[in-house]
């Protein structure tokens, strides 16, 4: 459980960085599309998440992830 917590923290931090936002302003279940999520910054987040967690994501499933929670689930599958 604590591991999930720290993964979520890292995911949130990366997404906040990419969006130029404060991590506290990104609720876990908020749809990122509402926060300025676009193709360019999502690609940046993808590259950073893969590096951070040493994973190789399938772009199709990454595109199907709409929230921080979805992305944590994606990373945890590895």
């Amino acid at each position: 459980m604590s591991e999930t917590g720290s993964i979520e923290e890292s995911v949130r931090e990366i997404i906040a960085d990419v969006l130029g936002a404060d991590p506290a302003d990104i609720p876990a279940d908020q749809a990122l599309a509402a926060l300025g999520w676009d193709s360019m910054n999502s690609m940046e987040a993808l590259v950073r998440l893969e590096k951070q967690f040493s994973v190789d994501l399938d772009l199709r499933s990454f595109h199907a992830a709409y929230t921080v929670t979805d992305m944590v689930a994606l990373v945890e599958k590895f």
Binding site: D17, G20, S39, M40, M43, V47, R48, K51, L59
Partner: protein
């Protein structure tokens, strides 16, 4: 936490306070290989504006055959890291051909630099028969020809420096050809393409070509993330784009005259292995097998830099006599004592020694690179002289050469004769410093110097050096207009203009070309659009001798007056009184510009030149 530990926070603070980020942060930006940090930095710096003393600005247009994507923020971070304040504009997606065809790179004005981002897709046919390597090769050749034509056309409409790069052949293409012979044939045509791209720089003075393929070959990064390529027409990974951004930054840095001129080196465990005081003259490691050969390679590299004009300074805490002995007598030492323009071998703090070396050379510590293996020495210099670029010689000595060269501190646009002679000039320069303390008045000193000044029209051989002076001179730069090589050449060939170089020699040696004048001439008036003079010859009357010579030429050509311009900048206060000091009369401010105008009757020219200077008369046509 220091600035370099958290660059993002330091960058936000700089943007908030409307100033350039500090030296440690900029160094961290330049040296970091992490694209995530660089993208973030580039994003933060998009809002950077600077109050007060303005850094060198650079106006960059990015033109791409694919999605520009993260290249813009990555390049911005690199340019700020180099101390430049950039304005970056990317052409719209899909407008590559159109933009080149019209030669108009931005909607508002001609940029100073155009960074062209090329990808393999531009040169490859949409579908090609893997069984027909000839067809593919012909197509690639034709695309290069097309690009060459477009570029030549575009260059007629712009004065910008255009940077192009070599392009890697995607593995998907290479491996799709199963005949090993045909594969070699395709690879050969691809190398021809890259050779052609590099040749563009030889065909046009305005074009600079950088070797991205060569960088990629040695960097532990993937050139392409195929998913991003297919999804967003992003043919390069962030890592690859960061490599390219660095290459383009090195060009921008050289072009802006921000290259470093001086390399200060430690001895123990830097230029040789071991500590001289402990191992003795025979015990230091240099030459032979590992690790001695690593130090030999470093010495060879440093000697090569010196041959290209980098001034060497020795900064070592050691016994002076013992160091002289090893440098002179050790059979494997390549850098003999005279290779160093200044030798600071004593037990004082190194920052102070570097400052004294800079004074002896009449150069700023801003042009210094300092290499040392000791964490303590590097920290001491870094703290006291943050403007000095500090290179670590710690760790495995096999990395020494790469650590020194990796960041391109010494890159210049082209080597001039003056560059090659510089170390010798500056050794004389340091000697001259000793000489000047023995005179009662400065005029006695100047007389004893035996100064000779020669003012001659620019030639094919001197235009490079003249443009370099325009780019590098900040203090004695009367109007701040930096005519580049292309503009200087145009003016030197035009009957309505004249470009003159100013060379100086004295009893200690030949300084070479140290100044230049760009002049607009009409029948009545000769107008000095700009006059620059290297600060190393200031306060000797050279500038007055040069203008005296110009006025003399004007009078002989029948012109009635000579007009001088001065436009104040943050750095050129030293030249504010130049025209009035030379006998010119200030005119009323024309229109609403900051440029001040001064005039002089051409007939009174002879009186301007100081009597201690011998003016070398040589009447040459601009094309001699």
């Amino acid at each position: 936490m220091s600035e370099s530990d958290n660059p993002a926070a330091a960058l936000r603070a700089a943007v908030r306070e409307r100033r350039m980020p500090g030296h440690p942060t900029r160094r961290a930006l330049l040296e970091s290989g992490d694209p995530a940090l660089a993208r973030q930095a580039g994003r933060i710096l998009k809002d950077l504006a600077v109050d007060g003393e303005r850094p060198r600005e650079v106006d960059v247009a990015v033109l791409a055959t694919c999605t520009v994507g993260p290249f813009e923020p990555l390049l911005r971070a690199q340019l700020v890291g180099a101390g430049l304040l950039p304005t970056l504009r990317s052409a719209d997606y899909g407008t590559f051909g159109m933009t080149l065809a019209t030669g108009s790179f931005t909607r508002d004005g001609d940029p100073g630099l155009v960074a062209v981002l090329l990808d393999a897709g531009y040169f490859l046919p949409g579908d090609f028969g893997a069984a027909e390597p000839d067809v593919l090769a012909k197509y690639v050749d034709a695309r290069l020809e097309e690009l060459r034509g477009l570029l030549a056309g575009a260059l007629k409409h712009t004065a910008a420096t255009v940077v192009v790069h070599t392009v890697p052949l995607p593995a998907q293409v290479r491996n799709g050809i199963i005949s090993v012979r045909a594969r070699a044939q395709v690879a050969r045509s691809w190398y021809r393409l890259n050779a052609g791209l590099l040749a563009l720089a030889e065909e046009h003075d305005q074009v600079v070509a950088v070797d991205l393929v060569g960088e990629l070959a040695e960097a532990p990064v993937q050139a392409c993330d195929v998913r991003l390529h297919r999804y967003g027409d992003l043919p390069y990974s962030d890592d690859a784009l960061l490599l390219l951004a660095r290459l383009v930054r090195r060009v921008a840095q050289a072009r802006a005259g921000l290259s470093r001129k001086v390399l200060a080196l430690d001895l123990d465990n830097t230029l040789w292995g071991g500590v001289l005081g402990e191992a003795g003259p025979q015990g230091v490691q240099v030459g032979g097998l590992y690790p001695g050969n690593c130090y030999t390679e470093l010495q060879r590299t440093v000697a090569g830099l010196r041959e290209q004009g980098v001034v060497l300074v020795l900064a070592s805490k050691n016994d002076r006599d013992q160091v002289e002995k090893v440098l002179t007598e050790h059979p494997d030492v390549l850098l003999r004592p005279e290779a160093f323009s200044v030798r600071m071998v004593d037990w004082s703090a190194k920052a102070g020694n570097l400052r004294r070396a800079a004074e002896a050379l009449s150069l700023s510590t801003e042009s210094f690179v300092f290499m040392d293996d000791s964490d303590f020495e590097r920290a001491q210099v870094g703290d006291e002289l943050p403007e000095v670029a500090v290179v670590s010689a710690a760790g495995d000595p096999a990395h020494l050469v790469d650590s020194l060269l990796r960041h391109g501190w010494f890159d210049v646009m082209a080597l001039t004769d003056t560059d090659r002679k510089r170390p010798e000039l500056y050794r004389n320069r340091a000697l001259r410093g000793d000489f000047s303390s023995g005179f009662d008045s400065s005029e006695d000193f100047l007389r004893a110097l035996d100064l000779k000044v020669e003012v001659t029209p620019a030639t094919e051989y001197t235009i490079g050096r003249i443009a370099q002076l325009a780019a590098r001179t900040n203090q004695f730069n009367l109007t701040g207009i930096r005519y580049d090589e292309a503009a200087t050449r145009r003016m030197s060939e035009d009957a309505g203009h004249l470009v003159l170089s100013v060379s100086v020699a004295d009893r200690f040696g030949d300084e070479g070309i140290v100044g230049a004048l760009w002049v607009e001439r009409t029948d009545e008036v000769w107008r000095v659009l700009n006059l620059v003079l290297s600060c190393r010859v200031l306060s000797r009357g050279v500038e007055r001798a040069a203008v005296g010579r110009l006025a003399d030429l004007a009078a002989r050509a029948g012109a009635r007056s000579v007009e001088g311009h001065y436009r104040p900048s943050d750095r050129n206060g030293v030249a504010a009184d130049f025209w009035t000091g030379a006998g010119f009369t200030p005119a009323a401010f024309p229109q609403e510009t900051e440029t001040q105008v001064f005039t002089l009757d051409a007939a009174t020219a002879k009186e301007i030149a100081p009597e201690w200077i011998a003016l070398n008369e040589r009447n040459g046509s601009p094309h001699e």
